[in-house]
Symmetry: C2
Subunit: 468 residues, 2 copies
């Protein structure tokens, strides 16, 4: 294949092959490897459109890629060497900030953290926040409808977008960057593209919502006797704090103990019976008023829940450093999981009202089939999103556990289906769950999705082999 025409579009130095392409052919966790025809790095939207037209003319598959931090292999090409990786990383300008309209226009390749900082410099908040924020790009965040820790208050990535600019599968530019909070002029193409994992078109820029910076934040770690108590506390916190409740993370006691086993410099801020509680919740309040007011609200709402016995104990961060230490405990869980050995992981969601029963029943089913496995459960309770992971525990090796991965998937995901949950809460489908999707998704919805794919990408060149 003569790639000269691509060099003519983006410049020779931005068409990478061989060793120069290697880093883009492998995902960051090194779970998915592919072989690309080339990595092409356009520098502006018009160049993206010309590259897509070049591919469309030749029937060449396009794999859009941002920060390459996805968890489901959605940005990795297949092994054929015939697909083009379209890197958006050079589209990294923040085109505009409008503080009166509370909007920011960012190109797809902007790193999430750079957007957060630009908002902060304008005395505003861009609330999307997740572990990879230092390297993931907003284009990838939107293509996968990223979640994270602030969804309870501000919604998923899609809720933070007012407008999109995108290149269609035929290489045309859709101009839709209007910063409007109401616009009822036809089908919601914005939300159709968001979460479509690059299979319908390429997002090149987005108009994002900004929020006021909170005046003060308070954080507490709560020790709880049961998930039922956690659900009760969540409901009371939603009522008592209103929209100021910005975080509610559920953590199994075993997860916290795993963190301090793995990282002895960290500590659980409880002793005795409180430290031995089966569940914990990390609660964050973002107050629009003052630190004093946040403290007063904490005392009123949490005090009532302690008096009624729904909270067993509470460790309230008194300083910013203490608050960071509590969040650090939570954020250390994924890395500390190695304390349990490799595990079979599930990113699932459920109605909040079903979570307690789901955990009980699914734990029991797993113990029946695999006695002694360890349940590593944590997640965003306010969103019904659990990271429900299964470690070897006692009675088997890590390798023996991983050999049973498909059976464990079936037990957990069938249970998710019985409770009307979702097999992918925030990570997406990509390559990882593409085979599982038809088993768990409504067949009529699957058929509509295939109809839309055929209509908007009749050549099937947009991220082939992903999602559908």
């Amino acid at each position: 294949m003569d790639l000269g025409a691509l060099s003519g579009i983006v410049g020779t130095e931005h068409v990478l092959t061989g060793d120069a392409a290697r880093a883009s052919e492998l995902d960051w966790r090194e779970r998915y490897a592919g072989k690309a025809l080339a990595v092409v790095r356009p520098g502006c939207t018009e160049e993206v459109a010309r590259v897509v037209r070049w591919c469309a003319d030749r029937g060449i598959g396009i794999v859009p890629q941002g920060g390459n931090t996805g968890l489901c292999g959605g940005a990795t090409p297949d092994m054929s060497g015939t697909q083009l990786i379209l890197s958006l990383q050079r589209l990294d300008r923040i085109r505009a900030i409008d503080t009166d309209n509370d909007t920011l226009v960012a190109e797809a390749g902007c790193v999430l953290q750079a957007i957060q900082e630009a908002a902060r410099n304008a005395d505003r908040l861009f609330p999307l926040s997740l572990a990879a924020e230092g390297s993931c790009t907003i284009g990838g965040n939107l293509a996968t409808n990223a979640g994270g820790t602030q969804v309870l208050r501000y919604g998923n990535a899609r809720e933070l977008v007012l407008g999109l600019e995108a290149v269609t599968a035929s290489g045309e530019i859709m101009h839709g960057l209007k910063g409007l909070r109401k616009d009822n002029t036809g089908y919601d193409l914005r939300n159709l593209l968001i979460g479509s994992e690059g299979t319908l078109g390429v997002i090149t820029a987005a108009t994002l919502k900004l929020y006021p910076q909170p005046a003060a934040q308070r954080t507490t770690l709560l020790a709880l006797q049961s998930i039922e108590d956690a659900v009760t506390v969540l409901a009371a916190a939603r009522k008592g704090f209103g929209a100021a409740l910005t975080g509610f993370e559920l953590i199994a006691g075993s997860c916290l103990h795993g963190v301090v086993r793995c990282y002895p410099q960290q500590r659980i801020p409880f002793d005795g019976a409180s430290a031995a509680m089966p569940w914990f919740a990390l609660l964050e309040l973002s107050d629009s008023e003052s630190a004093g007011h946040a403290q007063e609200r904490f005392e009123t709402v949490l005090g009532a829940l302690m008096a009624s016995g729904h909270i067993a104990d509470a460790a309230i961060a008194e300083t910013v450093a203490q608050s960071r230490a509590l969040w650090h405990l939570r954020e250390s869980i994924p890395l500390s999981e190695k304390a349990f050995g490799k595990s079979v992981k599930h990113d699932i969601s459920l109605p909040v009202s079903a979570i307690a029963r789901f955990v009980k029943e699914t734990n029991a089913l797993l113990q029946q089939s695999f006695p002694g496995v360890e349940h590593v459960v944590f997640g965003h309770l306010g969103d019904g999103n659990l990271h429900y992971n299964v470690a070897a525990g006692t009675g088997r090796t890590e390798a023996e556990l991983l050999a049973q991965q498909d059976r464990i998937f079936a037990i957990v995901l069938d249970s998710v289906a019985r409770f009307d949950g979702s097999i992918s809460a925030e990570h997406g489908i990509g390559q990882l769950k593409r085979g599982l999707l038809p088993r768990y998704k409504d067949p009529v919805a699957m058929a509509l999705m295939r109809d839309i794919k055929r209509a908007l990408d009749p050549l099937g060149i947009m991220n082939p082999g992903k999602l559908l």
Copy 2:
């Protein structure tokens, strides 16, 4: 056409023709009249699917209809007598309320007010609120992505939906009522159907988000010297009140004076210079804490804005009755417009930062072409949504004004386009703006919309002649 098979599906008494069909063939404002083959009233989702299949087999156009309160003729058939009105009004059950998950499942024919009341009875808030709430149905609210007075805090109708059940154009049932806050398993069919005005399928039920009831509300009417001051006050209120700011309505002084001219029992709560201010804003605070706290916040935030001169005067409602009276002033504007005579109306949106310049420039352009016309401007400033209406004023009769409607449309909507606004903020397209849409919508977006329409409704039977 033999309608016997339809009677077999829904029962003879639910297939209406002739006089019995008349009320459904005319919209409530009597602006749009059509002639239907019949009005069919299925009693459950399965019956809806069977009726759609009957129509698909015969290529008969289907006009879904809820409360028939739309403003753009979206629920009125054409005059051919060949289209079927599919009334969803018998699907009026609230199927479930889950207070732990903060969700409510309602069928399409539920009247909005009935859903608000069901939520209130469960000590929850369903925040969608608009003038027609006593007769509009949730199916129509979602098909048109309704707006209303609480969008600033809770978003448009689409933001209040977690799941949908719908019947496709081929008469299949899509089961998607999961009550999940995170679900990344493919294309966002929910948002594609919401706002599609019945042209892609029929929404039969929805899982809706519930919120905590606020503990207290405070309302104030602010007298303002300029729209620029209104924008400054809005930004400060967003920062100072956070998400507790639930309403911010901009009202031109002439609108308020029109209300009291039309309804002398109402009064403007200002005297002298304050009453003569050119602009007013109705601000509502919904506090999760207490009436005392709401009062204290009002004094702090509004006090600072009065000290800086951005607020000329403020009338704070001291009782629920006074608060209702302030809202009543705002809600009386549309009906009181007759004080100015019939007007040429526009439901538009703009970036908040552009509203002051838009109003100034567009007023001036209109005065150039139509000296002496009266500008009747009010709307949801927090959402950038203006109801920008033009009345005859001095120098022409009402009939002479209306004869110039197309020229006025062109002046106002071309101005909207220059400021990157939208020609339909919350009312939709329907029949009214179908002809205008291609002039103002991005051509690539129009082409994508047509591709989606062809893919999901290849026979073109879903609400023909609307939107596209």
